[in-house]
């Protein structure tokens, strides 16, 4: 048994099932393991003075007292795991979890805590529907963008966006549900599923504005909830992402000076890669309004990264030019971007210069999911109920699509937290 230590780092691995409260966040008991130590022993939360052997944890799993988490996450003293009324497991401050800016949703527990018999006919669901109808009448549309984020392997070829069957099913039932209710209020009106113009893909600030202006209700493409976006949008949480990529020229001064190994992790912490950039005066560029740029802005605000080292461009050709410009061959330059964009960038620059990439972590893992207007509980409840309905389907196509989504998420470094 390990000796208790103040510096022992723990990660939460299992949660104990428990009844939830319909309105407030409830604390959840959980099991932990030491980080960075090869040991099979588990602990009860922060109680590191005695351990549960792996056999007993398996027995608890078999009895369905505990459940292994899809996204084991570090927990520190002062934090707790919470079960929300929306059936999510969140790691957050133990005293003020809802106001905690660094809270992170670890699980979308739709398949854990939801009684399937309640789907679609509970009082809450009825309320959600009527509220959602009012909202959609006001907004006038139930629009969407199919995600193509998970398509990076097919770049640069133009291929149809990845539209998993579970997502299609959820959208169709929610649209039909809304239309049925809309007809009872306004017979002539009919909602349509609309797709944003191709050019609006990845213009997240624009999409955010559309959501806030009521032009679109829901954005179905996977969106990263950064600290900046968090003020305007909420998400139906589907995955977490821990890492972004540094992209650089193979054999470039930046690679040499920083000691970057293609494909190999460059640093274990956020500060662990920001500091070397600052110390070597390496310029770092990010795409405007994307999550890595938000991370760099935060680093600058905290005086960890001088503003003059930070660049941003909106378009792929500009970034490609900046990184491969022969006039600046001796400059140290890297691009910080998420993995999907990194693959696009490598493909776009193929003819001009060979590029490579190395994973580095965000300051905190980011939540990824389907976006809607901040604090709109009616939309949230409505969408969650339809996503659950599609996940609960016994169709093989749905099961396969869930498997494929999980696989594609893993391909781009995201950890799927939804149903398997």
């Amino acid at each position: 048994m390990p000796t208790p230590s103040k510096v022992m780092r723990l990660k939460a691995t299992h949660i104990f099932y428990r009844p939830k409260d319909p309105t407030d966040w409830t604390p959840v008991a959980f099991l932990t393991k030491r980080m960075g130590v090869a040991s099979d022993d588990f602990f009860l939360g922060f109680e590191t003075f005695r351990s549960l052997p792996v056999g007993q944890v398996k027995e608890l799993e078999r009895q369905r007292q505990v459940r292994r988490m899809n996204f084991p996450c570090e927990v520190a003293p002062g934090q707790a795991l919470w079960l929300t009324p929306e059936d999510e497991i969140v790691v957050a401050n133990q005293n003020d979890p809802i106001g905690d800016e660094n809270k992170l949703v670890l699980e979308t527990t739709a398949d854990l805590f939801m009684d399937p018999n309640l789907l679609g006919n509970g009082q809450g669901a009825a309320l959600a529907r009527s509220e959602a109808v009012k909202a959609s009448l006001k907004l006038g549309a139930f629009a969407y963008v199919f995600g193509d984020y998970l398509n990076y392997k097919r770049y640069p070829n133009k291929t149809p966006a990845f539209a998993p069957a579970w997502q299609k099913a959820a959208m169709q039932t929610s649209c039909a549900d809304l239309n049925q209710l809309v007809r009872s209020v306004n017979g002539a009106h009919r909602l349509k599923l609309e797709r944003l113009d191709e050019l609006d893909h990845h213009r997240y600030t624009h999409i955010q504005e559309l959501i806030l202006d009521g032009e679109i209700s829901v954005h179905w493409e996977m969106i990263f909830r950064t600290h900046v976006r968090n003020r305007a949008i909420d998400i139906i949480h589907l995955a977490n992402v821990k890492d972004l990529r540094l992209v650089y020229g193979l054999g470039s001064p930046a690679q040499e000076k920083l000691g970057l190994n293609p494909g190999k992790r460059f640093a274990k912490t956020f500060d662990g890669w920001i500091r070397p950039l600052r110390e070597t005066e390496t310029q770092v560029c990010a795409f405007t309004e994307q999550a890595p740029e938000h991370a760099l802005l935060k680093a600058s605000a905290k005086r960890k990264l001088p503003g003059e080292l930070r660049k941003q461009f909106a378009e792929m050709p500009e970034v490609t030019d900046w990184l491969t410009d022969p006039k600046h061959i001796q400059s140290r330059r890297v691009v910080a971007c998420d993995v999907g964009v990194a693959h696009k960038l490598v493909a776009a620059a193929k003819e001009r210069a060979p590029l490579a990439m190395s994973p580095v972590p965000y300051e905190n893992p980011l939540e990824v999911g389907v976006a809607f207007r901040k604090g709109d509980r009616a939309w949230r409840q409505f969408l969650v109920s339809h996503i659950r309905k599609s996940w609960g389907s016994k169709s093989e196509a749905i099961a396969e699509s869930l498997h494929e989504t999980r696989q594609r998420c893993a391909d781009v470094g995201m950890h799927w937290v939804g149903r398997n």
Partner: protein, 309 residues
């Protein structure tokens, strides 16, 4: 393990007395040394869970079964007689050596702090309720004790000499707390204390030295001296916390049915799911020994804090 005798009719008082004399002689303890020990006064304890989950579904509420369905703590034999349930951690915990000597027909209680973690099985009751059992039921032959949990490596095998009269069990615990060098003369080290739990070896071994009480077939709720009842702090969207008593309707029902049973509320936390009960149980026992009554959670909050470890 070999069955000793019929534990209700076969154990003779004279034999149990001689067992006590044997252990006193073996350890060379003066038999009058423990007369003022808290071990003679502190109630025995028993712990059980609030829920039995089956995934997201609540499959059972042990506290309801005990308090309202059975109206008593029941021995494993009585709880599972005629049932198909043949496996599970609870049964394994009490049904191995215990059943082989006939102890499955008895309710177990410890002369020690409440603990929701069971070392032998790794089972955890989250959240947990804790009973303090009245001493009036400690009458042979309906009740007897063993010097150790029979699964303890310190227990003799066969266990014939382990069995003691209830009063001798308490006396033995007092002598151990005073004279066994590993307890440093501190009764609370023997009984169980949060202060010492920081040591991994203590957390692992504390159950092995405690006297175990056995009550024949059942302990009625009327014989509960007090009940530790968990509450938790929920987070509201306003940013404030709300105190929520776990299974509150059950508490109201208990107070209606057993108005004289004191209830001590304690704060349960998912991050430290067992130590919160240990801390509250120790503070309650200290308060009881100091004042002769159980604390009123609201009125005596400050006094209870001063008794907290």
């Amino acid at each position: 393990m070999r069955r000793v005798v019929d534990l209700l009719t076969g154990l003779k008082k004279a034999r149990l007395r001689s067992n006590f004399a044997f252990w006193i002689g073996k350890e060379k303890y003066p038999d009058s040394a423990a007369r003022s020990s808290p071990a003679l006064r502190v109630p025995t304890t028993h712990t059980f869970g609030a829920w039995r989950m089956d995934g997201a579904r609540v499959a059972g509420r042990p506290y309801r079964e005990i308090l309202f369905d059975h109206g008593a703590l029941k021995s494993d034999y009585d709880r599972y007689r005629g049932s198909k349930r043949t496996s599970g951690p609870k049964l394994r915990r009490t049904m191995s050596d215990a059943r082989s000597v006939g102890l499955d027909r008895f309710v177990f209680a410890y002369l020690g702090v409440h603990d929701a973690y069971y070392a032998r099985s790794g089972t955890v009751d989250v959240p947990a309720f804790g009973v303090f059992i009245k001493r009036v039921g400690e009458k042979f032959p309906q009740c007897h004790t063993t010097r150790r949990d029979l699964n303890s490596r310190e227990a003799e095998r066969p266990p014939d000499r382990e069995f003691l009269l209830p009063e001798h069990g308490r006396h033995w615990a007092g002598l151990q707390a005073t004279h066994d060098p590993r307890h440093f003369g501190d009764f609370w080290h023997y009984w169980g204390s949060k202060k010492y739990l920081r040591r991994a070896s203590y957390a692992q071994d504390a159950w092995t030295w405690k006297v175990e009480f056995h009550f024949h077939r059942r302990v009625e709720v009327a014989n509960f001296d007090a009940l530790m009842w968990p509450y938790e702090l929920l987070a509201r969207s306003s940013g404030k916390k709300r105190r929520a008593i776990i299974e509150e309707p059950g508490l109201r029902e208990l107070q209606a049915r057993y108005p004289s049973c004191p209830v001590v509320l304690y704060q349960w936390s998912g991050s430290t799911p067992t130590i919160c009960l240990i801390r509250a149980s120790e503070a309650t026992a200290r308060f009881l020994l100091a004042t002769g009554k159980y604390p009123d959670t609201d009125k005596d909050a400050d006094a209870l804090k001063s008794h907290a470890p």
